[in-house]
Subunit: 362 residues, 4 copies
Amino acid sequence: MQKLKVAILGATGAVGQRFVQLLEGHPWFEIHELVASTRSAGRTYGEATNWVLDGEPPREIAEMTVKELGEPLESPLVFSALPSDTAREIEIHLAEAGHVVCSNASANRMVHDVPLLIPEVNADHVRLIDQQRQQRGWQSGAVVTNSNCTSMPVTMALAPLLQFEPTHLQLVSMQAISGAGYPGVASLDILDNVIPYIGGEEEKLAIEPRKMLGILADDLSSVHLMPATISTSCNRVPVLDAHLVSMAVRFATNPTMADIEAAWEAFVAPNVVQGLPSAPPQPVIYTRAADRPQPRRDRMAGNGMSTVVGRLRDCAALDGVQFLALAHNTIRGAAGCSILNAELLAATGYIHAFDTALIHRV
Amino acid sequence: MQKLKVAILGATGAVGQRFVQLLEGHPWFEIHELVASTRSAGRTYGEATNWVLDGEPPREIAEMTVKELGEPLESPLVFSALPSDTAREIEIHLAEAGHVVCSNASANRMVHDVPLLIPEVNADHVRLIDQQRQQRGWQSGAVVTNSNCTSMPVTMALAPLLQFEPTHLQLVSMQAISGAGYPGVASLDILDNVIPYIGGEEEKLAIEPRKMLGILADDLSSVHLMPATISTSCNRVPVLDAHLVSMAVRFATNPTMADIEAAWEAFVAPNVVQGLPSAPPQPVIYTRAADRPQPRRDRMAGNGMSTVVGRLRDCAALDGVQFLALAHNTIRGAAGCSILNAELLAATGYIHAFDTALIHRV
Amino acid sequence: MQKLKVAILGATGAVGQRFVQLLEGHPWFEIHELVASTRSAGRTYGEATNWVLDGEPPREIAEMTVKELGEPLESPLVFSALPSDTAREIEIHLAEAGHVVCSNASANRMVHDVPLLIPEVNADHVRLIDQQRQQRGWQSGAVVTNSNCTSMPVTMALAPLLQFEPTHLQLVSMQAISGAGYPGVASLDILDNVIPYIGGEEEKLAIEPRKMLGILADDLSSVHLMPATISTSCNRVPVLDAHLVSMAVRFATNPTMADIEAAWEAFVAPNVVQGLPSAPPQPVIYTRAADRPQPRRDRMAGNGMSTVVGRLRDCAALDGVQFLALAHNTIRGAAGCSILNAELLAATGYIHAFDTALIHRV
Amino acid sequence: MQKLKVAILGATGAVGQRFVQLLEGHPWFEIHELVASTRSAGRTYGEATNWVLDGEPPREIAEMTVKELGEPLESPLVFSALPSDTAREIEIHLAEAGHVVCSNASANRMVHDVPLLIPEVNADHVRLIDQQRQQRGWQSGAVVTNSNCTSMPVTMALAPLLQFEPTHLQLVSMQAISGAGYPGVASLDILDNVIPYIGGEEEKLAIEPRKMLGILADDLSSVHLMPATISTSCNRVPVLDAHLVSMAVRFATNPTMADIEAAWEAFVAPNVVQGLPSAPPQPVIYTRAADRPQPRRDRMAGNGMSTVVGRLRDCAALDGVQFLALAHNTIRGAAGCSILNAELLAATGYIHAFDTALIHRV
């Protein structure tokens, strides 16, 4: 059996580095190509990269030569950690050329036939790929996206509660600096400070959860957005990793607190997802501690792939409930989710080059 | 002319230190007595105090001997920086003994005949003192409180908007560590972290603004609470000073954005307040900057006595508006407000020992 | 085969929690008793402990009942995370009662017949136990200590250089807040600040490395201190974990830079130590990066058990060299080192109850 | 009387902003021209500047139009906050054109006829200007520099001790992020971290104090460097402002601790300096507190213009003493020192256009 070869676009950036880190020792995938801009191309990954994560890049990866963005790629699976502007067309071109692209970029997330995917939440949305391929005339290529890093914990926390029909959400985020990439937030801006504004973030947070929690149209052509009203306020706080969101939610069905707690505790991923290598044992962890979730102490729950919710209580102002949700923004909210998405595509047959014998090997 | 002698209860604590700092060179008041617990009593203030503010305590104050809580006091005006439990009875006893007590403690804030005062907002509530004195048989004594440090910017930001009849508020705070006093928040808890819980804070924030924005009863016996529904979520962030509050507000009258901006920009303190030594030139400063207010950069606005509001925008979820409000929690939200309250009492004749010639001296 | 039962003294404190965390899944040892003060005794560990590390305590440990300090213990091996004052006599009493005590407390470190142990550096010092047992009439008991958390990286960095005869050291530390335990350093003291003083630390740092790098007397009765002059300056910085030390060293033999680099790169632990479960693959990691070691990025090297050194360069003022050394203060500099010490004692036969078959099992 | 018109080069950068802030309300100087790169030129200062200091730029300054670097200037006095590469030639050209340039850039600091000036320390070095003008054929122009921000507290702390003949210095700095300008240090690099390297800093710190503490040659042509050996180790710490330096010093004359303390306490600026508007009452403040100086609590001593020294004690390794020195890096160590230098030049007649009547006005 041969692991599937993968390429990473934008491999030298902060999210690209997370892909490298999380793919080390992956049972199904192996890094075959590292792709970056002209400035880095032709150098070894170790030379081209200012590694901002802990420790050092894996030795064998550090010695690989970086390819230039635009060169033809060999890998059937491509992870994109590109900036949104750059991503838009390149991802489409790669899909046309037959690659399955799992993207962390925002560019194509809201395109009608592109799945915006959290496997535990909307695994069935992968079927948009059938439509995507048919309409666009692609054989083996596809573009799949994962959500904005703040939309992630919000969506995961709501997924078990969909049955209660959320109608109004007031979301206030406290987001980590790593969400801005590198160099990203200047230390002079954030030490002993909060910045109550993150460009473009509030708009994404107001729409992306509605797509992920929406219903696949009967003709598989698109997703009907969840009919909820979402207002958002996004803040940058002096925290390295993990986004914490204070959520106030009104439901059409007025569930009790006990109903909500039970729904969170009963929540499991679909069977096909549970066995995926990067799937956390518990996608949603509900804590009854008085002062949790906390970014530093809870971000590595489920190896950084779980969402932790807590402090469930009444919200009179919205005639609903309040609680907090937290997820690791560069693992679950970025590279880790892309990898889990790719695993789902592999397991469900959307990556033709993937040797399914790998699934049962472990 | 002789400045009014004042005592500070809890003088060695973090808020007590702010009183000492802010009273240095005050044109009307002079520190005459420093009062603390048995542990500190009998020592000089310099020895007894672990000064946690910048620099050093003023030299002449450092050499004063600390009195023990419970000793009779000579000062007609007493500032209380006591913990709430200790404050409850001591403040009442001191008022009985003829002292005017301006308290930062929460114990007596919601007592029906005790003013909960922000001079720019509800200066007329001082008239509760008439009732207080009559009913309790006090001649010159009184108890007046200032609000919780988070209720402060919320109330100040709403005061100009009362005309639009706020009915529902969803408040999410990001609060500085100095709000917990000293030693307060352990650094191991807050570095690279957010703690989404502050004991007792959410309850205070849900009720205190309603009293301060309420209407004095015709018989002056109490305050009718503002009839609004307030939900609250309080978070501690790694910031030294200043509380930032993300506010979502629904109004009964559906004001436009322009109405709200105009109301903030037109807001001024009552005449009697404008001339007080600690009154800021602008109680509410509305900023149109995209990313303000920020705790570090805006907390010293108006010498730490102004509230800065910004990022006014629509809030579909609550069918109202969203914005942020910020104030310095240990200046405007604690010692500074107590001092301004005392100045108002002095200027309006409630401190009998005060020589009103001081008012016109400057 | 049966794992060795161990007790943890001071189990609810910050270092005690690290013992719990690091012993989870240990191949030789299993936690059998958790011991703390009266306040915690009788409660479950989960209830009694304010867990300050990431995540949660292991479930089965959380359900164990905490014993009171002073109760007789069943475990042959005892880890002590007690405060120094409490530790002094209790550790001796437990050794008298037959327990092998591996202590992180400073109380007994400089006692002449107590090994102050870093297995990679001075494994032969374990032979002080023979003397300890003989002179004190102990059969199976013993007291072994690990060093102060700042002495650790200093000693480890110097061990490979002993051959060059260090004679003068000027040490300036930048230490993490976790070194002060919990609640430890108040956030109001350390945010946006450095505290250039840590009580008792400079004295320990000036003497402990000399014992660890000293030579065991021929009669095994004590250790001859390394004859070097050490000056120290200790600073607390706003870093969670890992102590960084700027070291300037003069040697009697004037080694070249290349000599020093070669010595670091050639350094390995004694054979008996290399196979221990907690021994890192490389005790000393020399980095040529221009800006390393860094606390956050290098503290987990070797699972937090390696010391990282870097920035080797000339030091004209001391007529020697300068470099930086870093180690994780609560892993390698505290609980992790105690555990490694215990592993060495087990492997060398000093813990009679230990089933040596475990060593070869893997 | 007319205030002297001044220009600020690099006015939109972080140090340029400090110039603007510190010159507000200056009794002798008024900002007449703001100069920056092409990107900013032609826009108002408010539009062109991302103000990173607290609050807002002064309103009247914000409305001034920014000039382009290279345009002829009208102001007799020019403050340079340029990057070093840009500064080198431009500063010389401006001096040729008749301007007195007080520069914070490093480019010309070590040029033999350019004063590297701290008025309290080496006011007599201004006489290099006579040589500078004569040799270069300048009439009214001149270039004067202030030191690197870390060299500042080191030099000031040593100035009173020159009488004891310092011969060897081992310096370890803990430097604030503002020293790197804006955007400067990425928050991902410095939160929960120390970076033990600052490009070019160790070299400057090893030489600049020797020039400032050196002796003016009899022929006024240059400065004889102080004959001391200085080794340096520079670290970036998560502190906003103020550089703290751990200093170990050997003296030729073996002064006692009491000698050193007395020297610090007796130190005063020369008479001509004492009356300058920006001169602090005490250039060197010696504190006996156990845990000071601290960056946050001591940086504003003397309005940010004093150097605070403390923790004097023995240093066996260097056969001398150890202590800590601290100064505000962007006030005393940058813009504030340039302004004080300019005041000295004005007061000593080196700025021909300056109306000396201003000196006596106050």
